[in-house]
């Protein structure tokens, strides 16, 4: 027995020693992952897809936008947002055609344009990352002795990027097997997309054994043409200037057919090694390790083409130190480690210990991190300043709004009565208060559908919504009395519904019905109480809520939208009649249909950003402010913290491939980590002492019991 105990003690100490080294006891990284130009960050849930044809969430883009490169990207520093070539050699040239296929002059009327053709040229000398799929021998057979799950232990190779890779990816978008979320949208624009999709479905049915690569390559898409190895064209229906923004998204990143072929091995599929999990791109990094349950590691792509840190930026870029690395070859770091961190509390604590480079600010830690001056200016607390932490804020290109279902008999419709009811509600729902209570002040009350940073948004006093606000020594919300007067004009004097002689009852549909949302919903009820309107909250689950929205069965709801690209069309289309959700299955959740607005939208959507376009947008905004199909809600403000060693942080809400610009000072990080993570042993000694003190009376009682007689 004593031998067993001795062995157990020896094993315990061996284990303890094996876990010890000269690094801090709480360092979560292995020695191989320390002290280099490494970015430490985290993910809270595993991405659903890493295939650029399928991925469409921010957590997916955090990975794939560093691996895949589309033709264009948003300039990292310049504002307003500006597209520039990435894999493209230059910006595209666009030619217009009529229905007969005759080329039209550049200044032709939009109505005469039947097709637009984008001529695209790609950069020469771009190579894919090293990957086994480029060894064609591995397509048919994997080495017999390879039983691992690390594809990078197989012989690696590469090849030059060609226009075929872009065309192959567009075919993948159309392939019904891929199930790309933008397939439906692209079918409206790319010529031949729908036909190709149908042919692929038929081929798959007729020849189920046909390999995917063969199937896709056996047919061509009429609107997408290869000119040569470095040139191709895409023909779209009508004029759609925003198409170039789509070409800047990972959906249109080139895909080598070899990757599809390689990952079709059944052995790899059984191991969950697929193109959806192990990307093959041309970007600054490649996904070296992918365990979506623990961590993902991006390593520097040794084949990355020449790309340099911008030498020009916005007016204040130099003052902010954002041009210190100007002209340096990208990427500026060697590795990015994404660790699984599901909960915000451990993430925050590890950020404070220096084991994550940057962090958002959850409500729990907001007071610890942020303070407001007497003038209401946002700043960091002394503790954060002392740690050398920096704060970055940016109003996001998003809108969170409350919508009225315009098909509803009470709040919907276009009569003066209905309009005044909506306007009255718009005045009393105090979004300034909402932002202050529920967003910790992180938001800007919206004056219209277009958020700041997007063309069409007018800042300052000129841009206020007169339906809701007035100018009296600054911007203030119109008084409740104005709302009451509007309500009376709407036929609900003092909030009484004449048909029942009782307070008007309105219904708010939400899937936010848990205990966390109780305070928010109570606040909302109070806003309606200001008008003596009784708000009934109809809580439901996600599925039923979506169903109600699709069928137009809701009365009021909350919804949000993040910009796909920085163009007002991407917001104004949310109120375009032909996008009405319940009628046409589009993204217009309020089912707003105004012929005048729609006509203006059709004109505006194909225009360049000119004063004429601004004038049209202003008219559209005026119409919607008057009709009030939404309570415009707010645009969230993103707050992020970063350590002193984390350089070149610049809020760019459109770019997803920002990681390559980030620089790290590993020496500074090491210094801070060592300072902040010195183990404290004395409480252990105190605990031991307490334990010994407890043993004394135990021993006394033990002796007493042992000496006592049975009877």
């Amino acid at each position: 027995m004593s031998k067993l105990i001795t062995h157990a003690i020896v094993i315990f100490f061996l284990l303890f020693l094996s876990a010890c080294s000269d690094k801090a006891l709480n360092n979560p990284y292995s020695q191989a992952d320390e002290n280099g130009k490494i970015i430490y960050t985290a993910f809270s849930e595993r991405p659903k897809h890493l295939d650029p044809a399928k991925a469409y969430s921010s957590n997916e883009y955090a990975i794939i936008a560093q691996v895949y490169e589309p033709l264009f990207q948003y300039h990292y520093l310049k504002r307003p947002y500006q597209l520039e070539p990435l894999l493209a050699a230059s910006m595209p040239t666009v030619t217009y055609f009529n229905h007969e296929g005759v080329q039209l002059p550049v200044d032709v009327l939009d109505a005469d344009i039947a097709y637009s053709e984008y001529q695209l040229s790609i950069r020469p000398e771009v190579h894919f990352q090293p990957h086994p799929s480029f060894n064609e021998g591995l397509h048919t057979k994997l080495p017999a002795d390879w039983k691992g799950d690390d594809v990078y232990s197989l012989p690696l190779s590469t090849r030059q990027l060609t226009s075929d890779d872009f065309i192959y990816q567009i075919k993948r978008l159309a392939d019904p097997v891929t199930q790309s979320p933008i397939a439906g949208l692209m079918a409206k624009y790319i010529v031949g997309f729908t036909e190709f999709s149908k042919k692929q479905a038929a081929l798959k049915k007729q020849h189920p054994a046909l390999r995917k690569t063969q199937r896709l390559q056996s047919e061509s898409m009429w609107g997408v043409k290869r000119i040569d190895a470095l040139h191709f064209s895409i023909r779209i229906k009508g004029k759609y200037p925003q198409f170039v923004n789509w070409l800047a998204m990972p959906f249109f990143a080139p895909m080598p057919w070899e990757a599809d072929e390689f990952y079709s091995h059944s052995y790899l599929q059984k191991k969950n090694i697929s193109l959806d999990w192990f990307p093959v791109g041309t970007g600054p990094y490649y996904l070296r390790e992918n365990n979506p349950n623990r961590r993902m590691v991006l390593a520097k792509n040794p084949n990355f083409h020449d790309e340099f840190y911008p030498t020009q930026g916005a007016k204040d870029s130099r003052e902010k130190g954002l041009l210190n690395d100007a002209g340096k070859k990208l990427p500026l770091t060697d590795k990015v480690i994404f660790s699984l961190e599901k909960e915000s509390i451990p993430y925050w604590n590890k950020f404070l210990q220096g084991y994550y480079d940057s962090s958002g600010i959850s409500s729990d830690s907001f007071d610890q991190a942020v303070s407001f001056s007497a003038a209401g200016e946002v700043g960091l607390t002394q503790d954060m300043v002392g740690r050398g932490i920096g704060l970055q804020t940016a109003v996001t290109t998003s809108s969170y709004y409350m919508g009225f279902n315009m098909l509803d008999k009470v709040v919907g419709g276009y009569t003066e009565k209905a309009k005044k009811l909506r306007q009255a509600i718009s005045i009393v729902v105090d979004y300034e208060e909402y932002i202050s209570i529920f967003q910790n002040g992180r938001g800007v009350p919206a004056q219209s559908i277009i958020p700041p940073g997007i063309f069409g948004h007018i800042a300052g006093n000129k841009g206020i919504n007169p339906t809701v606000y007035t100018l009296q020594n600054g911007l203030i919300r119109r008084p409740v009395d104005d709302a009451k007067a509007l309500l009376a004009e709407a036929g609900y004097a003092n909030g009484i519904d004449p048909s029942t002689a009782k307070p008007l009852v309105l219904y708010f549909d939400t899937m936010d019905s848990g205990p966390d949302s109780k305070a928010r919903l109570n606040w909302l009820r109070k806003q309606f109480n200001k008008l003596n309107i009784q708000l009934v909250v109809r809580g439901t689950d996600y599925n039923r809520f979506q169903e109600k929205m699709r069928n137009g069965n809701s009365q009021m709801f909350m919804w949000g939208w993040n910009a796909d690209y920085p163009d007002p069309e991407n917001f104004l289309f949310l109120l375009y009649g032909k996008n009405a959700k319940a009628v046409h299955g589009g993204e217009n959740a309020a089912n707003y249909q105004n012929a005048q607005f729609d006509a203006l939208f059709e004109t505006m959507s194909t225009m360049d950003n000119t004063p004429q376009r601004q004038a049209i947008i202003n008219r559209m905004i005026d119409i919607t402010r008057d009709d009030a199909p939404w309570l415009w809600g707010f645009h969230p403000k993103a707050f992020s913290l970063h350590h002193a060693w984390y350089k070149n942080v610049n809020p760019n809400l459109m770019a997803n491939n920002k990681t390559k610009y980030i620089n790290i000072d590993p020496t500074l990080r090491q210094h801070y980590q060592a300072t902040w993570n010195k183990p404290v042993y004395w409480p252990l000694a105190v605990l031991l002492l307490i334990f010994i003190c407890l043993l004394m009376p135990a021993y006394v009682i033990y002796r007493r019991i042992e000496r006592s007689t049975a009877l």
């Binding site: 284990l15 349950n293 660790s339 599901k342 909960e343 599925n543 409480p683 135990a698 049975a710």
Partner: protein, 325 residues
């Protein structure tokens, strides 16, 4: 005993079929195949054609339980229920609705769960039994009252508090262990110390009181008095005789959960960033991934039945009087 085991194993089949039917009905009462498709395809730009395509590719375009459009037996087997259930009975869990192989996911994620669960169980049981026996030893003294008071205090505190407080004091203030994270191999030791310690301390209150009840009942029996009359010390009686005779209820509690250990713990794994199976099922329910839900419920039921069988067998090992016929 062989006959008994075979008979028990045969009972497994109807139980598993019943569990499968129940899971299927409960899942599809809440979610329709259209809902599942929309959840997988995301919120933006999803058309009905895309939804129909998603369903067709995964076999969710069939009727749920009865296919009126088919003839004969095909009415029953050309249904979602049959097609999604038949593989389970031969332990072919297939792929998730997201396309990932479920067996590969489970085999990857079960090891971190086991790395936490096994030491937590072993140290937890040892600590619980030891403290429970000591409370019996010090019965009637203020040490027992003090011990019971501490037990009730420990029981009254939420499990989440232990985790947050443990991370704060040991990981943040004392800086002795990583706050969260995981590494494979021997490096895992650094990461599992804190969750195991918290698991053991968090379970101490209820565990000690439960074992104390068992031992109290046992210590009132005649053989204890006889042993005492023969001159054995109290400690010898407790740790050699009472413990041995109380093994049946102890085994009932432990063996039955052994096969389920690999299923992990949702909260512990979430807070410590352990890449285990704890959140696998709950994540699947949130994302409406029926393939994972049915597989995990099926596997859970099967392992529970196996656990009960193992418990019965273990009785024969600790008590020669028990015979399984």
């Amino acid at each position: 005993m062989i006959n008994y085991i075979l008979r028990r194993l045969l009972y497994v089949l109807p139980v598993l079929v019943g569990v499968n039917i129940l899971t299927f009905v409960l899942f599809f009462v809440v979610n329709t195949p259209d809902d599942m498709a929309r959840m997988q395809l995301g919120d933006k730009y999803v058309s009905q054609a895309a939804v129909d395509n998603w369903k067709a590719q995964r076999g969710y375009d069939l009727p749920l339980l009865w296919n009126e459009q088919e003839q004969g037996f095909a009415k029953a087997y050309k249904t979602i229920f049959f097609e999604k259930s038949v593989g389970l009975l031969v332990f072919d869990l297939g792929a998730s609705d997201n396309g990932r192989d479920i067996v590969a996911d489970i085999s990857q994620r079960m090891w971190p769960s086991l790395a936490i669960a096994i030491p937590s169980l072993i140290f937890g049981v040892l600590a619980n039994i030891t403290f429970a026996l000591l409370l019996i030893f010090y019965r009637g003294s203020y040490l027992e009252f003090g011990g019971l008071f501490i037990c009730i205090t420990l029981m009254s505190i939420s499990g989440l508090f232990y985790i947050i407080a443990g991370q704060y004091f040991i990981g943040k203030l004392l800086v002795l262990t990583p706050i969260s994270g995981y590494a494979p191999g021997m490096d895992a030791v650094r990461f599992i110390i804190l969750p195991v310690l918290i698991g053991v301390v968090g379970g101490l209150g209820s565990g000690v009181r439960w074992y104390r009840t068992l031992f109290l009942e046992e210590s009132a029996k005649d053989y204890v008095r006889t042993a005492k009359a023969k001159g054995l010390s109290d400690l010898q009686i407790l740790f050699k005789h009472v413990l041995k005779n109380a093994m049946i209820p102890i085994l009932t509690g432990i063996v039955v959960i052994l096969p389920l250990l690999f299923m992990g713990s949702l909260i512990t794994e979430s807070f410590f960033g352990i890449p285990g199976l704890g959140s696998y099922t709950i994540d699947a329910i949130s994302s409406q991934d029926f393939a994972i839900v049915r597989s995990m419920v099926f596997l859970g039921s099967f392992l529970y039945i196996i656990g009960l069988l193992l418990t019965d067998i273990s009785y024969t090992l600790v008590d020669p009087r028990v015979r399984l016929d």
